[in-house]
């Protein structure tokens, strides 16, 4: 019980902190709306040249919903763990985190949770509503919304642990920007955030299917759109299990790597 209160305190602190910069949220939301218009025009003209309404099982509206909500999820999931960690290491502040009576990984996760809550309500939900209006209610509404939320939370966990796995690389290379951009590019491309996975050529898609990146964008969005058999109990549970399995693998790998890397900090003297 005391533990939970400790964690929700971190969440609350995060909420207060991100509400402080409300102008940023408004501008980001506005930027998203313009971005939405760009995506709309681009895909409208792409579909106009296709000659058919459905390409690889995706209609124009499906693609729109998929890509715009991918942007919204991107804002929702956005974390600066790599930057935080490398800054903390450079300034020596990391030692304060390590001395806290809570695991660094656990502490980071919960102090970010507040900003996730805020961005979910202030940018994700409004973007979602705009998508509903623009596509004239093409988003199926029902139990899939609940499944989508569950899948989104798992996506958050997978994304967080991926960041935690990659972040210690900065300790070895002194290249925060480089490591971050390599990670981000791979995630955005192979997760379907840049272009829906449904459009990938068959051979590549078969490989990408087994990678963890799909768990971050493609699976929640597929669940929301009720594609690929995610509207059946079997299909849905296999996707959720896929997310769970990768979350577990990443947590273990991240822990092992962190335990190894943390020793390097002590060598440097912090």
């Amino acid at each position: 019980m005391k533990d939970i209160r400790k964690l929700t305190a971190l969440t609350k602190a995060g909420i207060t902190e991100s509400l402080q910069f409300r102008l940023g949220t408004v501008v980001t939301l506005f930027g998203n709306l313009i971005y939405l218009a760009l995506v709309y025009f681009l895909w409208k003209s792409i579909y106009a040249s296709a000659g058919s309404d459905t390409v690889n099982g995706m209609t124009f509206y499906d693609t729109m919903i998929y890509l715009i909500l991918a942007t919204a999820i991107f804002n929702f999931l956005e974390m600066f763990i790599l930057w935080d960690m490398s800054r903390a290491i450079q300034s020596g502040e990391i030692i304060m985190h390590l001395l806290k009576p809570m695991r660094y990984r656990w502490y980071t996760f919960w102090s970010y949770s507040g900003s996730h809550v805020v961005s979910f309500f202030l940018t994700f939900i409004p973007t979602f509503l705009v998508v509903m209006i623009v596509t004239k209610g093409a988003v199926p509404v029902g139990w899939n919304l609940l499944a989508f939320i569950c899948s989104l939370i798992l996506a958050l966990i997978v994304n967080f642990n991926l960041e935690m796995l990659v972040a210690p690389i900065c300790l070895y290379t002194e290249s925060t920007w480089g490591v971050n951009i390599v990670k981000e590019t791979i995630v955005l491309l192979l997760s379907g955030a840049s272009i829906p996975l449904a459009f990938f050529p068959e051979g590549i898609r078969r490989i990408v299917q087994y990678m963890p990146f799909r768990a971050i964008y493609d699976i929640p969005l597929t669940v929301l759109l009720k594609k690929n058999g995610s509207d059946t109990a079997g299909g849905l549970s296999s996707m959720i299990l896929f997310q769970l399995a990768w979350a577990a693998v990443l947590i273990i790998a991240g822990n092992l790597f962190w335990n190894h890397a943390v020793r390097r900090i002590t060598v440097n003297g912090g």
């Binding site: 409208k44 579909y47 296709a50 690889n56 791979i186 459009f199």
Partner: protein, 272 residues
């Protein structure tokens, strides 16, 4: 006499200073070799990812708004080269908000040279070079496949229009960085503007009405590749805006510079 010679500072004076600062900056960068390699790798990865997105797109669709694969690649290569100067020479804009907030910015105001010049010259971002090489490769490849003649005139035109195209993105980033003089921690403005640049590689003809206007005259990403490229792609019917783009680019750059300096003056007054 001496003050008079101090005030008359020409191009050569600033070029000399720039060279000196650049050498110092490169020396310090070279001491982090792993960072140099990883940053360039990262830059090439982002470009490669854009390329793969194109391949996947054209795997499913024959053309975009009448633009086929090679013409789209031409636009893409053009935009990558045009985006190199902002990456290489104007990257310090990303640090402006931290400097202004912490008060460290004041050091730039105490030097007897142009504040904008001094601030911008402090950082040369080497990772832009990877992007430049990738962009050149794409550009030359598309150029050859479209069959644009290689003459002195076309190459001179290419250089001129690439430079003018780059002015637009520089102007956008200058102006969005300068917002931090008025709004605390305005990094998100830069992030959003930087994201819009991803659409520079698509033909502006896909937008209609109001959005066409916004992306031509307010956030001028249509000038980063689309309008200047038309000079090469449709040489028989080049719109007036394409020919005027060098002038418009210089104007946008001047405006952004004035806006930036206005912020500096405001910063002086608050004395924070």
């Amino acid at each position: 006499m001496e003050t008079a010679s101090c005030r008359k500072r020409g191009f050569l004076f600033y070029a000399g200073i720039y060279r000196k600062i650049l050498v110092q900056d490169l020396k310090s960068k070279m001491s982090y070799r792993a960072d140099f390699i990883l940053s360039n790798l990262g830059m090439i990865m982002t470009n490669l990812s854009g390329f793969v997105t194109f391949m996947i797109l054209f795997h499913n669709f024959p053309s975009i708004n009448g633009w086929d694969y090679y013409h789209m690649l031409f636009l893409y290569g053009f935009s990558l080269i045009a985006l190199t100067p902002v990456q290489c020479f104007f990257d310090n804009n990303w640090n402006l908000r931290f400097m202004v907030r912490s008060g460290d910015f004041i050091k730039y105001c105490f030097r007897p040279i142009n504040v904008f010049f001094y601030f911008i010259s402090e950082v040369f971002d080497i990772k832009g070079i990877g992007q430049f090489i990738f962009g050149m490769g794409t550009f030359v490849y598309a150029w050859r496949h479209i069959g644009i003649p290689v003459t002195f005139v076309t190459i001179a035109k290419a250089v001129l229009f690439l430079i003018t195209a780059s002015l637009f993105m520089i102007a956008i980033m200058n102006a969005s960085a300068a917002t931090c003089f008025w709004i605390i921690n305005s990094g998100y403005v830069m992030v959003i503007m930087f994201r819009f640049k991803d659409f520079a590689k698509y033909p502006a003809s896909i937008f209609n009405g109001i959005f066409r206007f916004i992306f031509t005259f307010i956030i001028p990403i249509a000038f980063v590749a689309y309008y200047p490229s038309l000079v090469f792609i449709t040489p028989d019917s080049v719109p007036l805006l394409s020919w005027l783009s060098p002038l418009i680019g210089a104007f946008f750059f001047y405006l952004s510079y004035k806006f930036w300096m206005l912020g500096v003056r405001r910063y002086d007054f608050t004395g924070s």
